[in-house]
């Protein structure tokens, strides 16, 4: 439900955009500054804390043996979740995830899955019976808009910095081989770029104020080759063909800068 305050803020944001300004003084195509710390959770196989402006997320990677999905017996398992912790924002109530959080987790998951970042075929202990599962869980600790990119970067950095334990099968049961860690098979580094569309202006990495009054949202994930691998339009508004072309150019131009940052956290081959 929109209040008068919301309307005033919206008018202010849109008025600024007309003058080529954003409410936090950034350029239209300028993501907020980002800090990344990895290995913040020692009990995880990999982890990363991201601050994207005031949005902050901790992603943890757990790697453990599992049964394969039916009909996918030659692939390891990859599952990505997200929870907006109730301490992240006064409006968040504890409980099972709503449609917003489910969409968030699934878009982040697809960005990693569709780019084939992880070579899941290398995570098989015994075909159809026993595989390795990679679980990436995002705990959002402060909300200030654009959870999509924040969770995507956190998940990606956490995966890149993970060690892969070794299991061998004994009597069909996977047994951990101590002190034999290797590298997760990485094929590419996905970069998510989320753009808000407000009165036909396109802004990158919308903050919470912009998020609330934007018409539509485009999240585009590109791979290391600069190709587009996953995309999601959100929000109750519509977009034009020309805007979509512009969005893809923006995502492709920003991709390498973010990827360079994320790549720093990749464990060397």
């Amino acid at each position: 439900m929109t209040t008068i305050i919301d309307d005033l803020k919206k008018n202010k944001i849109l008025g600024l955009l007309k003058n080529e300004k954003r409410i936090d003084s950034r350029g239209f195509l300028e993501p907020r500054s980002m800090t990344i710390d990895i290995d913040v959770i020692q009990k995880a196989n990999g982890s990363a804390r991201i601050e994207l402006g005031n949005t902050s997320v901790i992603a943890g990677v757990k790697i453990q043996p599992d049964k394969p999905f039916p009909d996918l017996g030659d692939k390891g398992i990859f599952i990505c979740t997200a929870e907006i912790l109730p301490l992240a924002h006064p409006d968040i109530e504890p409980g099972p995830p709503g449609e917003d959080v489910i969409e968030l987790a699934r878009v982040v998951d697809r960005g990693i899955r569709e780019t084939s970042m992880l070579d899941l075929s290398k995570l098989v202990l015994e075909k159809n019976k026993s595989v390795i599962g990679i679980f990436v869980d995002n705990s959002i600790t402060n909300c200030d808009g654009n959870l999509f990119d924040a969770c995507s970067y956190a998940s990606t950095a956490a995966i890149l910095s993970s060690n892969l334990p070794t299991w061998k099968l004994e009597n069909e049961q996977p047994v951990l081989v101590e002190d034999q860690e290797s590298i997760i098979p990485i094929t590419t580094i996905p970069v998510s770029v989320t753009m808000g569309i407000l009165n036909d202006y396109i802004v990158v990495d919308p903050n919470a104020d912009e998020w609330e009054c934007m018409d539509a949202r485009i999240t585009m994930i590109t791979n290391s080759d600069g190709n587009i691998c996953a995309l999601q339009k959100g929000g109750s508004g519509s977009v034009t063909y020309d805007q979509l072309k512009e969005c893809s150019q923006i995502a492709i131009s920003i991709g390498p800068k973010i990827r360079k940052i994320l790549k720093q956290y990749q464990i060397d081959n």
Partner: protein, 241 residues
């Protein structure tokens, strides 16, 4: 998944016999549910989808209502027998996401400002699922909204494009979705020339991406003609009652 399946032969013919720019067979009927305010049934390839619309009506629970405007809700649900492996009747995360995506694809087309504190409910039931079920559902939902007399700026027409055998094709079917390279569902308002739904799974170059949207929009325009006919058939039937 048969990876050795030939998705496109040398004559440019796809595994189900279609050409690269050819839609599957589409049949739409409007106004087929007795108790709903508006409804539609679509067969889109092997998709069989029923949509019922209720409202504008009171919102329960009340705290969800908005004093400034009517709201739109959508439930996309699959019958247990709609897919090869029996589906658990409880809503999956995938169904919840698609419900949201369809709702947001319909929102730009409806005018609910005049119905504050009310809700329009769109219930989508997938009786049989094939590739492209969200596009098929969206087409039927837009017809059902029109059938319910909800004020609209435009129809929403939907169709996917995708990439198989390194070729951009219209309207990806289930086999092509499984074994192909990319699938991009598009929802489109044909008179306003605006896109309301857009997703992509799979890898595309910038050129392919642009072509994909373009091809999908052409498909949407064909679908739009079929939608219009369904509405006309419905209202014509009503007249002769």
């Amino acid at each position: 998944m048969k990876t050795d399946m030939q998705l496109l032969n040398n004559d440019g013919i796809r595994c189900d016999g279609r050409k690269i720019d050819e839609l599957r067979k589409i049949t739409i009927k409007a106004g087929i549910l007795k108790n709903a305010n508006g409804s539609a049934y679509i067969e889109f390839g092997n998709n069989k989808i029923l949509v019922g619309v209720f409202g504008p009506r009171d919102v329960h629970p009340k705290h969800l209502s908005d004093t400034n405007t009517g709201i739109l809700r959508c439930r996309y649900h699959m019958s247990p027998f709609s897919v090869t492996e029996r589906k658990n009747p409880a809503p999956s995360r995938r169904e919840i996401e698609i419900s949201k995506v369809i709702k947001e694809a319909l929102q730009p087309s409806v005018i609910l400002k005049k119905f504050p504190r009310t809700v329009v409910d769109v219930f989508v039931e997938v009786l049989q699922a094939d590739g492209g079920s969200r596009c098929a559902a969206l087409n039927a939902a837009s017809i059902a909204l029109a059938d319910a007399g909800i004020p609209m700026k435009d129809m929403v027409s939907a169709c996917a494009a995708g990439k198989i055998a390194d070729t951009i094709v219209l309207d990806v079917n289930n086999e092509e979705d499984q074994a192909g390279q990319a699938d991009m569902p598009v929802g489109y308002m044909p008179n306003l020339d605006k896109i309301t739904l857009l997703q992509l799974d799979g890898i595309l170059t910038t050129q392919e991406y642009e072509k994909c949207i373009d091809v999908a929009i052409q498909g949407c325009k064909i679908v739009y003609e079929i939608q219009k006919k369904a509405l006309i058939d419905k209202f014509f039937k009503c007249d002769i009652k």
